[in-house]
């Protein structure tokens, strides 16, 4: 059975990518499951979607724990624990990462035994949550890696799944998917089907047994105020707003009042961005009348931060 997992951010089209790949498998005569998995999170938040395909009926259910292929549309998700990119990766798994870094770099960083393939971003795009056609690119590449999906099945799957989006969108997606399909020619059939898992080998999750209680006790009630601050929605951010305090006119209210998330506090007339919670919508950048707030890619901001910290330590 093929077990394939797509990781991306909400908005990058991973749900559609898994659907297209699932349909392509189906057109090749496979039994298929495909499903997206996300919670209440929105655009920019880590999500994943998965596909199972087998020539026999599939009895396995739930998320994929032992993937044959893991596709990462956005390499900034790899270090995010909540994204679960590395979950269940073994020497058997193939890891396909959309990245500007080398394969050896990823292997070194992640201490991996498994093969790694790189889908290189052609150019740095300003809005990561909308990497254009990355979904199509991931689907095309993964279809070739299976070695059992023809480009005709891929094309038909794209036309079927995107039929509501109009010819222009379909053609663009096709172009990207087929280019990615071609780019993986040397690796055709690089992934192999994993064996069937036996129910005996299934490790029970670390469940905790809770006694059954009366509804007055067990109904979910929250007794502390504003517990949502524990949720670090800053992880959603792909662009970081940075205030240049030399340009800030200390107008007091514009960025702080317009921030939809209440993530800008003003202390003594100086706005301070709460990066643990800023989702990177960039309303503040668009609204600041003195253009004192600039957006830079989050990855770049983190690299700068690391450098500064290193400098301080020295």
């Amino acid at each position: 059975m093929y077990r394939i997992r797509f990781h991306g951010r909400g908005g990058q089209g991973m749900k559609t990518a898994s659907r297209i790949l699932g349909t392509a498998f189906f057109l090749e005569g496979y039994e298929v499951q495909d499903a997206p998995r996300y919670g209440a999170e929105r655009r920019g938040a880590p999500i994943f979607a998965y596909v199972r395909a087998d020539s026999k009926p599939i009895n396995e259910r739930g998320i994929i724990l032992n993937p044959d292929l893991v596709i990462v549309a956005d390499d900034s998700l790899v270090p995010v624990p909540a994204a679960g990119v590395m979950a269940g990766i073994t020497a058997h798994t193939l890891l396909l990462i959309n990245s500007n870094e080398e394969e050896s770099e990823w292997r070194h960083r992640l201490n991996l035994e498994c093969p790694v393939l790189i889908l290189s971003l052609k150019e740095e795009v300003s809005e990561r949550a909308e990497l254009p056609y990355i979904g199509a690119t991931c689907t095309g590449a993964s279809a070739r890696l299976t070695g059992v999906i023809s480009n005709r099945a891929l094309e038909q799957a794209i036309r079927e799944e995107l039929s509501e989006l109009g010819t222009t969108v379909i053609e663009k997606n096709l172009e990207n998917a087929l280019a990615a399909y071609e780019s993986m020619a040397d690796n055709e059939g690089a992934i192999t089907e994993g064996g069937l898992a036996s129910a005996d080998s299934y490790a029970l999750p670390g469940w905790i047994d809770l006694p059954f209680e009366d509804a007055r006790t067990s109904a979910p009630a929250i007794y502390a105020p504003a517990t949502s601050v524990e949720v670090k929605t800053g992880l959603w951010r792909t662009q970081r707003p940075i205030i240049d305090y030399d340009l800030c006119k200390k107008c007091w209210w514009i960025c702080g009042s317009y921030c939809p998330d209440g993530a800008i506090e003003v202390e003594e007339s100086l706005p301070i961005i709460d990066y643990d919670h800023c989702k990177g919508c960039l309303v503040c950048v668009a609204q600041c009348p003195s253009h004192a707030i600039e957006a830079i890619p989050e990855a770049q901001a983190q690299a700068l931060e690391a450098e500064t910290q290193e400098g301080e330590q020295k």
């Binding site: 655009r43 105020p225 601050v229 949720v231 702080g256 939809p260 960039l282």
Partner: protein
Amino acid sequence: MSEKIEKMIRSTRDLPSTHLLGTGTPMCAGCGGLEALNGIYDILGEKTVFVNAAGCMTLLSVYPFTPFRGSWLYTAMASAPAGAQGIRDALDILLEQKRITTDDDLEVVVLTGDGAAYGMGLSATSGAMERNLDFIYVCYDNEGYGNTGQQYSGATPHAAKTATSRGFAGFRGYKKDLFSIWAAHNPAYVATVIGAEPLDLAKKIEKLRGMKGPRMIIALSPCPTGWDFDPRETVHIGQLALKSGIWPLKEYIDGKVTHTKVPRKRVPVEDYLSLQGRFRHLFEPTRNEKLLDEIQARVDSYWEKIEQDEAEK
């Protein structure tokens, strides 16, 4: 915060510098509804019970996380005002029996999206106003069933593309005039607001805080996900909704409607429409002049009537 805002809000300088609502909510980046709710909550404060009908904002409080500092209760989509009635009654009984003091009393606030407010919750809302329930109703209006993928609702504007209105002309119906439907019940207060105009919003919330009876608020909520625009444009699009005259800021008290901000020189509606993917079919591949003219004419005729009424005064 609510305790600190004792002085009247007169200028933007009086707007709170920190927010009361907790961060870390699962609303989309650039959510216009959350922006409005932040402004509203800053003034209503923690002595509130929010009664939240199913919708995007039910996700604000998913156990064990909540951004609220006071109470919150979840109801089915159509029944938030009925839930509010129950809470108000319970509080009144506790007050009457002197089990709580007036200092412990809470303001009951219904929070729903436009799906509930304009559609399936309208009957319960009408009943609550009929019974003169002492409550506040906040509708965040993103003009569609946003939480489930933007299907059309009673608030969807003419010609907008939604998940269920995909033709070349978009949604064939017209946005319901909920302000007038509510005002026809003669409640204590009805107002339209928008997060992009925080001062007007703050003044209105401050005003209704001192009142009793049904107090109704509709906040137009630019929605990057459902309306298809870059999240950074949320405030800009809100400002254009005002400047184009598409979203009139007004209030209703004692049988009278007053416009609180009249756009003297209106920008063309297409300035507002063209920034949103849900109206892209009006511009590409060819301009749909007929529909654009129709939308412009409706806005023009609305304001002509307002200007006439003003001139007659």
